[in-house]
Structure formats: structure tokens, C-alpha cells
Symmetry: C2
Subunit: 244 residues, 2 copies
């Protein structure tokens, strides 16, 4: 299934893709999904960030095989940094270089703790694209990452959630101003998406709508104000955005 | 004014203290406050965490004058760790020593960024007590603090919010199992509450209900399962809790 959060005159609602339409659902985290009967044509519907997380996590140093020698480690971003497809990343020129990072992103369905791999089907809603925008020069000033990770619009996610996807070898492509700036695969992650998720839930409870960006295996690129960006992942489409 | 979030048969609502009652308000972040007319006796009303933050921040290395030589630094905790007065901190024996930390805590009223000290009256809702529970042994394993700070119930806040309070020299007392375990004053913070808040908003947008725990100036104590805890701050009452 493909799930999205869409804009309607009555406000934001969740919906499931059905033919050329979005079919509105009552509670995207419920099973089975219950449709309200309202339908919107996909061609004219504005997509929003597919969830509004309470907790936004990213994986640190998870970029390639050498990182496998270090234990996994996660950081938190402000939920207020989350934006949706087509939204704008605001760069503060006082903060130095800014990089976008294209990452496979897990979306949580239920309250969960100490998740084991065989429980994933119950606990995970699906997968989307995350852009873990980072003011990289700030990491030197603040090793807790707080200064680097929390600028306005610094966590674009979308365009939608796919519930049926094998996360282990999905190609990721990062395009800036129409030019391919980076490309790789989730197979390049030191700790794969499922290992990363189980690690995180060993240390904290997560719940409906929370997201874990699983790391950038060489999928980052420097951006400057005025740039347009497009991050594509196999099976998940393209998350477009811009920078100002 | 004293503001609280209280439990009623119709769910959680915000209220303002009025004589022996809590007078329910429509929107605790609005000015002026509008009362609904509903009143509840304080003596029989259950208090909840005074806000439900989207962003929970703490200050790192802010414990005494020597820390003033280092730049201020903040970390984020999961909003899902927030609990209220009388609630339970869950200790995971696999994670080593756990300490409670009694901290003056700022509550944000409006969406804000790059706050200057002369804007505080508009931007800040008030002050409460925060307990920044920390699994201290985890800091050595995870210098990003994610493993140390996000156990279940690891951020008790309350019992209420005081809107009129000078944060600069408030005594803090930490009591474990009826015995005073630590005592100090906010005057012992390296970066005071207002400096810390302005620092944080220079790097990220905060909004209604977000909280900043301003640091533990020698106000922490080790706890074990079965402990009862009480953190008191001048003018803010006592935040009680327990550990299991």
C-alpha cells in the first residue's frame, strides 16, 4: 500500500492510493485501514509530510563498512524541523556549509520498545524518504549535533509511505539543480535499517508516526540558497524540495 | 499566575489556580486567558505534566562556574519521556547507574526563534520543575546522550507552571527516600536560564509547550528501583515521583 497525508479544504488527512485517487482513511495507524469514502484525485492533491512525528531520529556514522567496527549510535532532531514534499529548507548563512542527506526512513506504526526483527511487520507502518539536512560546520562546534541538525525545514520527509518494501538494497540518488550529486544504495549502510531500528528501540520507546532516518551511505550533497533538490529511492519515488 | 494541566472525566485540560480551585481555561498559550467557567477543587484534582512538549531540551555541562569557560551546549530528549507529578521513572538494570537531576525548566508560550532577552515576557509561558533523569554510565558508551537520556519516564515535569518568577537565584533541593540528597541554587548555573534559552533559539525554532531544562547545578542524586523522589524549587513547589 501507498499511504500519504494530504491537504483538503477540511484540513490534513491520511489516505491510501487507489487507482488515480487518494482514498481517505480514518486512522492511518489502525489495522485494518477504514476508508471514510472520501476520494481525491492524485493529480491535483497537495501532499504533506506523510506523518507528524513526536520523535525524529537519525543514525550517526552509518555510511559504510568501516563504521560497522563502531557501535551504532543515534541522534534526535526537533519534530518542528519536519516539512513535506516541495517545502523549503532555510539556510542560515551564519552557520556555514549545509548538506542534504538522502536516507531511507522508517515510519513507526505502534508504541514499541525492545523490538526484535521478527516483530517488524506489526510495529512498522512503512518506509519513506528522509532528507537529514545538516549544517556540517556546526558539528565541530557542538558534538551533540543540536546546532547542526535543527534549522528550519531541516527534515523534509515524503512524498508518501510504502508499506511493502524490502529495505536492504534500494538505490538512492541525490540531485541538486538537475545534476546528479550523489548516488548509492542502502546496501552501503554499516548497520542496516532493521538493525538500526532494533538498536534504537532497545534504548527508548517509540510510537505512531515516529521516524528513523537510517543513514546516508554516501548520499549527501552541499546546497546553497536558491537550489532545488530531488532525492529518489527505489520504490519510494522522489522527494523534491528547495533551499533558501 | 499558577497554571496546570489537570485530569477531568472529559480528559486533560489546562487550568489556572483561583483560590482553592482550578479554573479551566480554553487555551493556556493564549493571551488573555479565557476561562470556560468550569472549576475543580485543587484538593481532589489529579495534576498531569503541565504541558505536552513537542521539543524537550536540556543543557549539557552547565553545573558550575568552570563550565562558563566552555560554550553552552544543549541536547534533546524524546517527547515520549515526559511524565507528570507522581509518575514513575522506569530504570533498566542493564543500563547501569541512574541519576535524577532537579532543574529549573522554562516553558515556551509562542513560536519563537532568535529570542533576545527583552522578548522573554512575550515568548515564555513560565517556569516549572524538571527532572532530567540520566543513565549516566551510558554517556561513556554514547557521547550523543541518546542512550542515557531516553528511558521510559525519564523526564518528569511539574507540578505546575508559575508565570511570574525571577529565575536567577532559586534554591533547588533533591530528596530521595525522605533524605536530602542534594541542594543548590540556580545561581550556580554556568549559563543562566535566560542565556541558555536565547542560545537554544539561536539554533532552532521552538513553540508552545516546548521545555528547556536549564541544568543541574549540583542537584543530582543516584536512585534505585523502589525509591521515592521529591524535587523542590523556590516558588515552584515540589515535584514528587518514584522509581521502579
Amino acid at each position: 500500500m501507498r499511504l500519504a497525508r494530504i491537504s483538503t479544504p477540511e484540513g490534513a488527512v491520511h489516505a491510501v492510493a487507489d487507482g488515480a485517487d487518494w482514498a481517505v482513511v480514518e486512522d492511518v495507524f489502525a489495522r485494518p485501514l477504514v476508508r471514510t469514502g472520501e476520494r481525491r484525485p492524485q493529480s491535483t492533491t497537495v501532499l504533506l509530510s506523510p506523518v507528524e512525528p513526536r520523535v525524529v531520529l537519525g543514525m550517526s556514522h552509518n555510511s559504510g563498512p568501516a563504521d560497522r567496527a563502531r557501535p551504532p549510535q543515534a541522534f534526535m532532531k526537533s519534530a518542528r524541523t519536519v516539512v513535506g514534499p516541495g517545502d523549503v529548507v532555510h539556510v542560515d548563512p551564519r552557520r556555514g556549509e549545509v548538506r542534504i542527506e538522502g536516507e531511507l526512513t522508517l515510519v513507526v506504526r505502534t508504541v514499541c520498545r525492545d523490538v526484535m526483527p521478527d516483530q517488524l511487520a506489526d510495529v512498522v507502518l512503512g518506509w519513506t524518504i528522509g532528507n537529514d539536512v545538516t549544517a556540517v560546520d556546526q558539528v565541530l562546534l557542538d558534538p551533540l549535533f543540536t546546532q547542526a541538525k535543527n534549522g528550519d525545514g531541516f527534515t523534509p520527509i515524503g512524498p508518501w509511505i510504502e508499506t511493502d518494501l524490502d529495505p536492504h538494497d534500494l538505490s538512492i540518488e541525490v540531485v541538486v539543480d538537475g545534476v546528479r550529486a550523489a548516488s548509492s544504495s542502502t546496501a552501503g549502510l554499516a548497520w542496516d535499517a532493521i538493525e538500526a531500528f532494533c538498536y534504537v528501540t532497545a534504548h527508548m520507546t517509540l510510537g505512531p508516526g515516529d521516524v528513523l532516518m537510517t543513514g546516508a551511505p554516501g548520499t549527501s550533497a552541499t546546497v546553497r540558497p536558491g537550489a532545488t533538490t530531488a532525492i529518489s529511492i527505489d520504490g519510494l519515488g522522489t522527494l523534491v524540495g528547495s533551499v533558501d
